[in-house]
């Protein structure tokens, strides 16, 4: 960046693209705080005291189920992250540390799911969930999402487990730890940064998914926020205040989380997918 002219050009292009990326999001959030007239009259201006209105939000939160959709989403995402991390780390540890005949084959088997989307088995997943009497439950979603996220999480965590120096595990053996204790007291604490990455990584697609909630828990108050908003939008399609507020309600928490975790997420994308 020696020449200021080219620096300005680069900043110009990046700035323009950033604006393009942000504009639609900001537009929706901005207009969600305006009265209906202002939404159509001055869509590009910020809300002013005269145009400010929360009527849309009243409608969204007046529909009491929105809060429970949030709780559903948090439960599903949290449960999935917990199981994915725990079982993923356990499998990653065993595959990396222990020698046994089917080791490579099992690792290969577990990695099929990285490339083949689990959605393709949806027909049978529904049949299975119906047979297990889990339809319209959050448990069904947690189990399916865990199965979906395990392969990549095992893959990423294995890389990190392998980086724990061999000497350290052996020092632990000399210190009298059982194999189980080595995992819980040495390995888990040491791969915490990697687990944070996998957590963020798992969280986003699960939180945003529409497919499985639509298939497995479409009614009965077990909708996730993504599905709930989708249904809400379909219902209030002509009420612009409600639509914009519903969209903003779905966007804002994700954006806040993103700003907090963006560092981990980007580190995760780079460590997991590139290798």
């Amino acid at each position: 960046m020696r020449k200021p002219a080219s620096a300005i050009a680069v900043h110009g292009i990046l700035g323009l693209y950033t604006a393009l990326a942000l504009f639609p999001i900001l537009l929706v959030i901005m207009n969600s705080f305006k009265a209906r007239n202002a939404i159509f009259g001055q869509p590009l201006s910020l809300p002013t005291p005269s145009t400010f209105s929360l009527i849309g939000y009243n409608k969204v939160f007046g529909d009491s189920s929105v809060v429970s959709y949030y709780v559903n989403s948090i439960t599903v995402t949290g449960g999935t992250i917990f199981l994915t991390l725990l079982f993923g780390a356990m499998a990653a540890w065993a595959l990396t540390e222990y020698k046994f005949r089917w080791n490579t084959l099992l690792a290969l088997y577990l990695s099929i799911g990285i490339m083949v989307p689990i959605r393709l088995g949806s027909v049978s997943i529904i049949q299975l969930i119906v047979e297990m009497n889990l339809i319209n439950t959050l448990t069904a979603l947690i189990l399916v999402y865990t199965a979906q996220n395990l392969p990549l999480s095992i893959f990423i965590l294995s890389e990190f487990v392998a980086q724990i120096p061999k000497d350290l595990r052996e020092a632990a053996r000399c210190d009298g730890l059982s194999e189980y204790s080595i995992f819980f007291f040495i390995v888990l604490p040491l791969i915490r940064p990697a687990m944070a990455t996998v957590a963020v990584f798992t969280m986003i697609p699960v939180w945003n998914d529409l497919w499985f909630p639509l298939l497995l828990a479409p009614t009965g108050g077990k909708q996730t926020i993504t599905l709930g908003i989708q249904q809400f939008l379909g219902q209030y399609i002509t009420d612009w205040n409600a639509v914009l507020s519903a969209l903003s309600t779905a966007i804002i928490p994700v954006l806040i989380l993103y700003v907090i975790f963006s560092r981990q997420l980007i580190r995760g994308l780079t460590s997991g997918a590139v290798k």
Binding site: P165, D167, E170, A171, C174, D175, G176
Partner: protein
């Protein structure tokens, strides 16, 4: 009595034999150093003693108790790893106390032992630090401290100095020697550095290709190496070897015009092929006498008070001779190198020492 006895130990991975017929005793209170080139099996042997590697056959006892099937923690050993292997998520105190906690040692006892080790190793101000906040030398001391608090029968060191810089290495070497005296500990120590081996050991075990080549006191190995491998491995720069034939009972023919008047060992017959060994420090550059070799100077490395000359013999072989002071010779000069008749080694065609 905390001695280690190993008898007829074999260790293989699949079809590859890593250790072959190892017989070794580490006496109570002894400092035994396993030394050899990389890949010779010395670290594997240490790990077998630690219980980190299962052995294929043979027996091993520590303090009179057979330990073949005991996991590391039950062998009453403590190991200091090359990379120190400190738990990064615990402070210095936590690292030293960790094993004791798992051994269910009472808290007060742990506290006492850790503090005592910290005092011995001057780690007291560092107890609350994490490993990453320590220098290499400090980490090394924590690793040793972690071993001390366990009051093991045997200390195992796996190349503990190889991650330290040169100056610190010498310091720490001295510290380890002092510690050995103070604790009267039984120590088995692996290194590839023969200076460490010579300075620390009561007994050196030279290993090569999975076998023990020679076991003995440091100076025994230096003065009476049993074979060519040990002769070449111990000492720096390495011993010079000259292939010769026994022409008469008191004459060796080097085949390049040199004939040396030496008294051959009794076991050597006229006509035998003999390898003559002589260390650079037992050769005098520019010296005179009956026993001398003549060649041209390739290069002289001057280290100050002394140095080494690389002298090419008529056969094309280069020998290294010690240089004292500041010789006037330059590269390409013809010089005489005198050998010390009392410091010659003879090896037969199998590479074994003959006396």
């Amino acid at each position: 009595m905390s001695e280690v006895r190993i008898a007829k130990l074999f260790k293989s991975y699949g079809n590859v034999e890593i250790l072959k017929d190892i017989n070794l005793t580490v006496e109570d209170g002894a400092f035994v150093v396993l030394v050899g080139p990389s890949g010779c099996g010395k670290s594997t042997l240490l790990r077998c003693i630690a219980g980190l590697e299962p052995i294929t056959s043979g027996t091993m006892t520590i303090g009179g108790k057979q330990v073949n099937d005991l996991p590391p923690a039950k062998r009453e050993i403590a190991m200091v790893f090359q990379s120190y292997a400190l738990y990064p998520h615990m402070d210095v105190y936590g690292n030293m106390a960790f094993g004791l906690k798992f051994a269910k040692v009472p808290k007060a006892d742990i506290d006492r032992r850790v503090n005592e080790a910290a005092r011995i190793l001057q780690l007291e101000p560092l107890l609350k630090r994490r490993p990453r906040e320590l220098s290499g030398g400090q980490r090394q001391r924590v690793a040793i401290g972690r071993a001390i608090v366990r009051k093991p029968q045997v200390f195992l060191f796996d190349e503990p100095l190889s991650n330290l810089d040169a100056a610190l290495r010498i310091n720490t070497r001295v510290e380890i020697a002092k510690l050995h005296k103070m604790l009267k500990a039984t120590i088995t120590y692996v290194t590839h550095d023969q200076v460490e081996a010579m300075t620390l050991a009561d007994k050196i075990v030279v290993m090569n290709k999975g076998r023990i080549e020679q076991t003995g006191k440091p100076l025994d190995l230096y003065y009476r190496p049993v074979n060519l491998f040990v002769a070449g491995f111990i000492g720096s720069p390495a011993m010079n070897f000259l292939v010769a034939a026994a022409k008469k009972r008191d004459t060796l023919d080097l085949g390049d015009g040199h004939e040396l008047a030496v008294k051959l060992p009794a076991a050597c017959k006229v006509g035998d092929k003999v390898t003559l060994g002589c260390r650079p420090e037992h050769m005098t550059f520019g010296g005179s006498g009956k026993l001398k070799l003549t060649g041209t100077v390739d290069i002289i490395e001057r280290l100050g008070e002394s140095g080494f000359a690389y002298v090419r013999l008529p056969s094309g072989q280069t020998i290294i001779a010690e240089v004292r002071g500041d010789p006037k010779h330059g590269n390409g000069d013809k010089v005489d190198v005198a050998l010390d008749a009392a410091q010659l080694h003879f090896f037969n065609s199998d590479g074994m020492r003959i006396e």
